[in-house]
Symmetry: C2
Subunit: 348 residues, 2 copies
DNA sequence: TTGAAAGCGCTACCAT
DNA sequence: ATGGTAGCGCTTTCAA
């Protein structure tokens, strides 16, 4: 059996309290006794207080949960998510807090159970869409919570994000300003179980994922202002946020008659996929969203949002809660980054 | 106060055991009673058994620790490390296990404390070098452990990795075969506190990091076989595994008189940095290590090792321990990937 | 400066 | 099918 604190106490001939103090409150006993205790512990192979028991007694854990409302293994595949995580890690590191990455099963009740079983002091939720049940589970546990989707945040929640709609509007306005009128909008899982390819949508609001919804709405705003009504815009669904999925989804649209002169994607990864597929369509304008590292190399026009900073602030909101709850909702700035993937409408 | 299991028991008028069973062993009570209990729990706002208390009682946690023997925030910056993590996550996901990412402070005793305080059932250690004290702490806790560095593995440890030396030998042989004789080897933190730039090393063994050591030794093997003795080889130190650090470290070497005709880097990230710095030196052959995604786009000749698979196997070794301990040491295959960044020695 | 007592919230065994 | 009992290993008053 592993030795316990009690064993050390017995060996030294002191009480458990004293051994406990030797570890957690060195000022509560003489240096000599402490040394003696630590020494005995070493001899017995006692590795120090059991983290679980300590957490139970103390009532807190020293770890924050990070939830991606998508496959965990997928999250590592998404450059933006990884940078967000890096930011979270940076702040956690500073606080000596660990990060518990909790895989979320797709089924709601199992997802809820996963949340219920996580030994953490609070959660950062990287929202992809379809997170309400997860957030509900966290709130039910009475744990603090920060989300990245404003629509998802309850008044008591903390939030850090961007104005998705305004940001999307800014790229779209740039594209509209270049004269594009025949455009396609590309999103990941625009409708839950839709097949890849073009889609009928009564309006941006039909997209259940708040992020997608916000971005589509922003795109629509700008084109509406340029005289292009929603029905004239093609919405294209990709089955996943990957280059391959994007390429597969957009190919038939580009190959159709009356193809768009510009494609506005809801993420850089998707935009890169469009570029992959657009090889034979030079002159096509393409925009992304996020400004991941690959975007620059590809010359992608996009909207930059501060990825690491978003993560840092999310963690900080959890680990250094603002005194005034009103400071718990942070809106980050975004920048339109114009590169070479957008240009005037080609005359043909 | 948050309600406890006891409160639910009182409310329903049953014992704690029964409530516990309602959650953890549904087959131990009638469906009707169970429904009644769960219902009361919902009404009271009882979120289910406390994870910490449950772990204490059950003696296991349902989480595995992942340790990077470097800054945690740095790990997310390293494409190879991220892919490793993706692999770990994939398997953890399948087992319903969470991943606890533990930031390691630089100071040894604080690092040990971080390990001691982690509530996990075992550790995957992604070895960068200088991990002995960390591994010792894990062993002292009696927790199972898988490393990625064979040198670091004690007999009881599990291990998954590659034959660093042989892999390095394969790229170096390719370069030597192209006729290169004036070569530089580039590594991250070849010596602990060395400044960026060329370095004197009595031999590969002087590099304390086992991975660096192994790769340098492999490079040396191949050149020795080609008639280039160790002292004729320039070893260059980069202050970090980043493109910028690599570029800064290699620049003076390329600018010196008698510059190398080939640079062999210990990682793709470093190699990419060399390429950045080599703009004005066309004809320079450069090799990397790992075959990250960016390598292909850059035309980098490198050694591929299966990143996600390494992570998957590491997690599997922990979560599905092999019956025969002898199966706990896995050596993964590597492949030489020749692209355009290497070529014959330019005649000048 | 040290120790005794009282749980933290839960589960597993053994009865009934 | 349900309940009683006995801790899991630790920390924290409080008293000595």
């Amino acid at each position: 059996m592993k030795p316990t604190l009690q064993d050390v106490a017995n060996a030294v001939g002191v009480s458990r309290s004293t051994v406990s103090n030797a570890y957690s409150r060195p000022d509560q006993l003489s240096a000599a006794l402490r040394a003696k205790i630590l020494d005995a512990a070493r001899r017995l192979g006692y590795p120090g207080p059991d983290p679980t028991a300590r957490s139970l007694r103390r009532g807190f854990v020293g770890a924050i949960g990070v939830l991606f409302t998508s496959e965990l293994s997928y999250a590592f595949t998404d450059p933006f998510a990884v940078r967000f995580l890096a930011g979270v890690g940076e702040v956690a590191e500073r606080h000596g807090a660990s990060l518990l990455l909790v895989p979320l099963p797709r089924e709601r009740d199992r997802a809820r159970a996963a949340v219920d079983n996580a030994a953490v002091d609070g959660f950062c939720v990287y929202c992809v869409g379809d997170e309400e049940h997860v957030l509900g589970a966290i709130r039910d546990r009475g744990l603090p919570l920060v989300t990245t989707a404003p629509e998802a945040a309850a008044p008591a929640d903390r939030f850090v994000g961007i104005d998705e709609r305004a940001a999307a509007r800014s790229v779209a306005a740039h594209v509209a300003g270049l004269g594009h009128r025949r455009v396609a909008l590309l999103g990941d899982t625009v409708l839950p179980d839709a097949p890849p390819g073009p889609l009928r949508l009564a309006g941006p609001g039909d997209a259940p994922r708040p992020t997608t919804h916000g971005r589509l709405a922003g795109f629509a705003d700008a084109f509406a202002a340029a005289g292009v009504p929603w029905p004239a815009i093609t919405v294209v669904n990709a089955a996943g946020n990957s280059r391959a999925a994007a390429a597969a989804a957009i190919a038939p649209v580009l190959a159709g008659d009356d193809p768009p002169t510009a494609v506005l994607a809801c993420s850089d990864v998707l935009a890169l996929g469009v570029l992959d597929a657009a090889g034979p369509h030079p002159g096509l304008s393409v925009t992304g969203f996020d400004d991941i590292a690959e975007a620059a190399a590809a010359g992608l026009t996009t909207v930059r949002q501060p990825a690491e900073e978003k993560g840092r602030l999310a963690a900080a909101l959890l680990l250094e809660p603002p005194a005034d709850p009103a400071d718990g909702h942070l809106l980050l700035p975004t920048d339109l980054v114009v590169r070479t993937s957008t240009g005037p409408v080609p005359r043909s």
